[in-house]
């Protein structure tokens, strides 16, 4: 049946409106409420418990910010890659590489107990993440291997390497056979802000975001990234070496995730242990998408998802699995992608 109106895709609509992220979060919460209710819980109780757990107290807010730091750094990392359509989903592995490299400094240079310890751990963490990113870039640029698969395979490799270290050579001899490295000394720990668990990593993350904004907006490098993102063919004809940019972008992207890993192990957990990341690298993908790769949006989104992770922990007390967080996250990504497209459809008269 023909109707007088029809929907069509407006290809000229490049920006999706502000309400898409908001509506996505709301709709995802709505859909997940159905699953929660099907499981015999009251979704309103669960959600309000999550909200209070994450933002309702000074402690909760503090924990939320602690979780937001790695999300912000990893989210920023993948955003830079997504700018030129390099689909890095390996932030998780790059993060873990950073935690392992920083821990290696404490294990193999135990006599280093001054400011150099932190400095060296920083360099090691960023370098390890960068190398892990490069391992994804090289197959892409020189062997035409899709970076999605490489970066994901490397996540599993990093996870197994971490298990090897904490169960094997780096296991704390005084740790009652518990898998984990020895606890870091104060000189190997990032200083905390005031009396809280929040650490200097927050300053790193915020300055990285500021630097990203300046670089993208005002430098030639940023201009070239934007050009490649907008039209790779035109960029190629303009003489831009796209392969070189993929390398740089993956090193920077991995380096930021590595920095996040270093900050987490040195500032929060103070030792390398199993399950050190609750999936920061994967959540970072959603953070980047929700933020539309925008610096200010990244800050808001990472605080929101930090709260979601903390809220997930807090509903465990009422018998709810914390995996409800992962479910909500996946749902948000679904509605975001769909919403971006729905917003581009226009109602036209035939």
């Amino acid at each position: 049946m023909r109707s007088a109106f029809r929907f069509e895709l407006d290809a000229s609509a490049t920006r999706s409106p502000w309400w898409v992220p908001v509506a996505s979060v709301a709709l995802a919460l709505g859909v997940c409420a159905i699953f929660i209710a099907a499981n015999g819980m009251n979704p309103i109780t669960v959600y309000s418990k999550m909200l209070r757990g994450a933002f309702g107290s000074a402690y909760g807010l503090n924990e939320t910010l602690v979780k937001a730091v790695p999300l912000l750094l990893c989210g920023l990392g993948v955003s830079i890659a997504y700018r030129i359509a390099v689909w890095n989903i390996g932030a998780e592995g790059q993060f873990l590489a950073g935690t392992m490299a920083a821990t290696a400094v404490t294990i193999y240079l135990p006599e280093l107990q001054n400011g150099w310890a932190i400095a060296l751990m920083l360099v090691a963490g960023i370098a390890a993440g960068g190398v892990w990113g490069l391992l994804t870039a090289i197959p892409r640029t020189h062997f035409q291997v899709n970076e999605l698969i490489t970066s994901l395979m490397l996540n599993y490799v990093a996870l197994l390497a971490l298990d090897y270290f904490v169960f094997g050579p780096w296991r704390d001899p005084a740790g009652f056979n518990f898998p984990g490295s020895p606890v870091f000394t104060p000189a190997q720990s990032l200083p905390a802000i005031g009396d809280t668990r929040l650490h200097l990593g927050l300053a790193f993350a915020l300055s990285a975001v500021a630097l990203y904004y300046v670089l993208i907006k005002f430098t030639r490098w940023g201009y070239e990234l934007r050009l490649i993102g907008a039209n790779p063919t035109a960029a190629k004809h303009a003489g831009i070496n796209i392969n070189k940019h993929i390398w740089i972008v993956m090193i920077v992207s991995g380096g930021l995730a590595g920095l996040a890993g270093m900050a987490e192990v040195s500032g929060v957990t103070h030792k390398l242990m199993q399950g050190i990341s609750p999936g920061y690298g994967y959540t970072a993908i959603i953070v980047a998408w929700l933020a539309k790769l925008h610096p200010a949006g990244l800050i808001v989104a990472s605080v929101l998802f930090g709260g979601l992770i903390v809220g997930g922990y807090s509903v465990q007390t009422i018998g709810m699995p914390s995996s409800v967080t992962d479910m909500i996250q996946g749902g948000i990504l679904f509605f975001l992608i769909a919403g971006d497209m729905v917003a581009k459809f226009r109602l036209r008269r035939r």
């Binding site: 699953f35 490489t150 395979m153 497209m341």
Partner: protein, 309 residues
């Protein structure tokens, strides 16, 4: 000889879920829609299998539930990619993340529980005395036989029938297919949904046969390896069979080395499939650098009627 037979048998059992998932992916991608949700679909298939099998103790009902749920998720993917024309990479990732979270959430109550039974096997006693063949084929479970039949059926479908021609036309050049009167969008929906159900069955197989108890994230990247397998197999069902068994063998070699008590830490042995995946892809990319890779030409590009490219 005996060791070789053992290895092949083990490779088949470890390779069958990879094969089912790869075949599902091939169906979807031949029609032009990238399916990166394989990992999430397999996890959902596994958790639904666990929940229904523990609840009903009926294999047919379990398989039906797995197919129904994952086909519904496939429908969602098709809606995103075909109707909304969303970014197929991101839609697949969303499916993986959502499936991972939802399966962990739903599987909480059955985590670690043993299954009340096993997958029925087809016992071919007359085949038993035949050397090698008897050992390999006399006592296989029904889903493995199904996977053989499926390879043959899909090979014939894709390469020998007009349906296969239509499928390839839709995946390679949807605009031309449309002009020829092929219903591009309907076909894409059908193949994405069927493919998703097959990937779900792969997850169900993993749970019912391979590791008979649910643990969170139990597929451990098998879905992604299946995505890579599609590339090794160049979107070809017959090649997918050999590639899947090759990776099944890799998986098993790690176990075997562990069993004979070597000094290599098990963590490194478990890395083998992931590392080999990257290296094989790199080798193929290098070897085929000046040749077509067999990728459906319109893979990942949404088809919009009346739009010129």
């Amino acid at each position: 000889m005996d060791l070789a037979i053992q290895l092949i048998a083990a490779a088949m059992s470890a390779g069958t879920p990879l094969l089912l998932a790869a075949l599902g992916g091939i169906l979807s991608e031949r029609s032009g829609i990238i399916q990166l949700g394989a990992e999430g679909l397999m996890l959902m298939g596994a958790v639904v299998a666990c929940l229904t099998f523990i609840g009903s103790e009926s294999i047919p009902l379990t398989l039906l539930a797995v197919v129904a749920v994952t086909a519904a998720l496939g429908l969602l993917h098709a809606f995103m990619c075909v109707t909304l024309r969303a970014n197929q990479i991101m839609a697949g990732l969303a499916l993986t993340l959502f499936g991972g979270g939802l399966s962990a959430y739903l599987g909480r109550s059955v985590s670690g529980l043993p299954l009340p039974g096993t997958m029925p096997r087809i016992h071919l006693d007359w085949l038993e005395p035949v050397p090698a063949i008897g050992r390999l084929f006399a006592h296989l479970d029904i889903l493995t036989w199904f996977s053989f039949a499926l390879v043959a059926a899909l090979h014939l479908l894709i390469h020998k029938t007009s349906w296969g021609l239509h499928l390839k036309a839709v995946g390679d050049n949807p605009a031309t297919a449309d002009v020829m009167g092929i219903r591009v969008q309907a076909l894409r929906y059908a193949y994405v949904v069927a493919g998703a159900a097959l990937i779900g069955l792969a997850g169900g197989y993993m749970l019912l046969v391979y590791t008979p108890s649910w643990t969170e994230g139990m597929t451990a990247g098998k879905g992604w390896i299946a995505v890579a397998l599609i590339i090794f197999a160049r979107w070809n069902p017959l090649r997918a069979l050999f590639c899947s068994y090759f990776f099944g063998a890799l998986d098993m070699i790690g176990f075997r080395i562990q069993l004979i008590g070597s000094d290599i830490p098990p963590y490194f042995l478990k890395m083998i499939p992931y590392v080999v995946t990257v290296f094989v892809l790199m080798y193929l990319g290098w070897r085929n650098r000046n040749k077509p890779s067999g990728t459906p030409e319109a893979l990942g590009i949404p088809y919009i009627r009346e739009q010129r490219f």
